[in-house]
Amino acid sequence: MSAPPRFLLGASLGAWGWLAGKPLAGALLVILVEGAPLVRQRWQFDDREFERVTDLISIGFALFAVWTWLASRDLAQGILDLLSWLPALLAPLVVMQRLSESGRFPLSALFWSLRRRRETPARSMQIDYAYFCHVLVATAATAPRTLDLGMVCSVLGAYALWPWRRPGARASWWVLAAIAAAAVAGALGFGMTIAQRFVEARVLDHFRDRASIASRADRSRTAIGDLGTLEQSGRIVLRVEAAPASRPPRLRDGVFDTYQSGVWYAPVSPMRSIAPVGTDHWVLDARPVEHRARISLWLAGGRGSLPVPEGTARLDALNAGIVQAAAHGTVLVAQGAEFLDFTARFDGMSLADGPPTPRDLSVPTRLAPLLQRTGEEAGAATLPPAAAAERLRAFFHDTFAYTVRLGANEATPRPLDAFLTTDRRGHCEYFATAATLVLRQMGIPARYVTGYAVEEWSEREGAFVVRARDGHAWTEAWIDGRWQSVDATPPAWRALESGEASARPIGDTLSWLYHRFNRWRFAAPEDGAGPNALWLLVIVPLAGWVLWGVMRRSRRARAEEPASLESRRIESWPEVVALERALANLGFARLPSQSIRGWVRTLPEEQFPERAALLAWAERHDRARYDPAGISRSQDGVAVLRTEALALARGLEARTGPAA
């Protein structure tokens, strides 16, 4: 591609500095990039010098990427931060191209395979347009979504495309087309934002329902009625560090009160924003609590419901921006880091949860008779709430079985009915749903709760590890003026789940190492750990050592060059290849079976005034190739031959222009 219009790069860098919030850097780059053509002197940079600068920039880019990743709390944001500085990182290449004699950038600087082959210098390009595209993307990726950005992109784009219009086309038609494109772009951009909102609201939410950690706070889709095997992975999703006496038996992340067709819906209750004490301490309830547990987890997107022990009153070292608590007890992080490592203070009693509502007694009308019969069968229908809950729990433990496997012949349109009457076996969601509805039928307010069971102790980690398969559902019943847990699932479920492919030594080890790394990476600066400025003292010397190694290797390669010339085959001289390419571009390519002399002889004299010179050179080339005694094989003889070839090639290239 040819050179871009004047000041295109300067204008785009100015826009980048303005819109991306880097005015000083933008101004400096504008001066560098647009000032380079004003310098009268030009330097003769050879391909190796371009390659060296490109290598240095690549190393700098890699180090900057590592630093950004370590310092960033969000990987995606880290990538965008890196992208936003790309114009500054790549600017030296553009400046070098503009200050070079050739005014072009060799492709060997970008591709190692070309460096090994050492082909023609004509394999080059102008990187101005590519750089312009980088600047445009970097600006758009980091600038705020305003009308200014759209207009700037349109104007710069039009200016960049002006030289490429069709020859002979009227300027008025071009302007009309450009305006039409800008209008269509505006409409398309608006449509894309609307479409994304629609997709997020309808489609993605459906998949979030089945996620283990990032569960929705407003609904829980159960697997009641699903066929096959309830698949749960052994991947560690949570870690709980607590004294044995303070171990929370369960972590709760969702409370639901309305059941419909296999889905539990959360209560519609106002969310209370919790004001932080200091920067990362959150008080949910002022009552004193004695137990504490340190919990570590990944929260997808930095938002979602937080798995916390029952009766949590305070959260310390929680790296979040907005924390909300619902009246029914769910704790939500509306804005926070993806890796959370906090301490929950709790007492195991959900004293702060609000009183029951009429929805905590509602049951589906169709199921009422069956639920009544079940309560009577359990012998709990006439008992007081505490006893009734205990009797019901024992009933399910003794007469029902736990399983995650459902055969194909058990498909039924009324799975809960079948569970309570004929099957009498299922997974925790069946038991929790059934217990909740039966208690309600007996007049005891009850809710469906989801979360995790904390059971497995890891000697290596010195903590309790919670896996995806430890996800659990149980019931909370309003007994004696507070919400109390009623776990109707037979205790055998723990042994069954832990027996399922529990040996994951390699995966667990890697997960532990990654967990330790994340703790260090996201540690608060006052903790004395984390990638703070101190680590620059490690990275900078390492970078310097790498750079010194690269430059020393390149110096050694240069020193070795003359000695290796003799060992290289003449046929692969890049100068000869350049000559072949130049003549091929003029329509006189050499056949593989043609000798150089034979090929030169086929060139028409009237079209090639330099034919005689080419023929003379070809004869000396053949002598050098086949008859070493005929031409000096010393450095001088070979060098002169190669220089002449390059001069001839350049002369021929001038007739067609450099190869694109």
């Binding site: 591609m1 992208l83 993307v137 758009a140 039409a180 494109a181 800008a182 894309m192 329509g587 000798s595």
Partner: protein, 443 residues
Amino acid sequence: MRLRLFVRAYRLSRWADRRFTPAGKTVLLLALVSGVFGLDTGRTAAYQVFALCAALVVVAAVSVVAWRPGVQVRRMLPEVATAGVPVRYELRVTSDRPLSGGFVVQDELSDRFPSARQFRQEVRMRDPASNAVDRRIGYPRWVALGAWLRGGTIAPVSVSLGTPSSEVRVDACLLPLRRGPVRFARTRLLRSDVLGLLRGAVVHPAAQSLWVLPPTHPIPELRFPGKRRHHRGGELGVPEVGDSQEFLQVRDYRPGDPLRRIHWGRSARTGRLVVKEMGEEFFARYGLVLDTFGGDADRDRFEAAVAVAASLARHVRTNDALLDLLFVEEHAVLAAAGRGPGSRMVLLRALAGVQPARTRSFATLADAVLAHASRLSACVHVLLEADAARAELVQRLAHRGVAQLVLTLRDPGPGFRVGAVPVHVVDAGDPARSLAGMPTEVR
């Protein structure tokens, strides 16, 4: 499966090259990159760049649809071409409405894709333009082989008209890559949209063929022995030129003369039947034997052999002698060149289309040569192999008094014993140099 993917990839890349200008490709690439970063419209504004690029492509696509002139194209090709030598020819484009501004004329050859067998046999594994990954995948090799099978390359010609015109003459250039028939398929007129991103195309089917002769190299003058043999029936000595009696040997028709000897043109002019008179002649007849066995396995060596044979057919000076070309494809072929300077074209045309023998054995060629040996004074062999079977042919011809010269593209093995017959090894990679140093005596 892999070849089907190659075909699709090739067609897609050709379509993209035709339809998108360099600026269009840049816009497309920018759309892709900005689309990746702009996937989450809530996070970045890169989707605006994507929207702008998409809008530009849409507007460009709409504007090229409207250009649909009705065109006719005539292609003025020469009679023959030579492999490796560019051929310039004229394209005459006429349109139903005046053409103006700039557009591109692209003449195209028929698409030909390598078969699985051809792809496997292609041994260009050390293509210097490919890296290790390309060599492993094989796509660049497949593309190069396809170009060779098509027979040539034609560069597009940019036309810029200052004033509108309904007829445009364009000079195109074909670079033949191989000998044999080169088939033209169509001519395309391409014009970019006003923004310069996309190209609209108008296609005119224009099937035509051009016969490409093999390349030839200079050879030293060969000294043939002065043996003349009796040839019953003779040969027509000179071409007919006008009404000059000096140049025609005719006589009145006598009953019993073969009808095929009647000279109809002279008979019409004179009003009586006259016949061409063939006299008894004594002249030398030389054979040029081309070995086509084993050429399937090594295309480069076979092509070099054909080039050597073509060089001999074109440049060898036989004075009054005739030159007979013998080779075997599906069956034995004999092509005879007369005495005139244009008569060698017969041999070159035959060599332009020769293919390796696949179903026969070398014995077929040997039998054909030996059957023709009684008419030959001398014979030049161009052999792909130098083994005992070929040596036996040479020896048997030598026993019959035929002077010979052997040019072989393989180093002679221990079984290749031909006595005093000169043998010269030709380097398949550089036949021109090898021919320059060949022996000049045929004995």
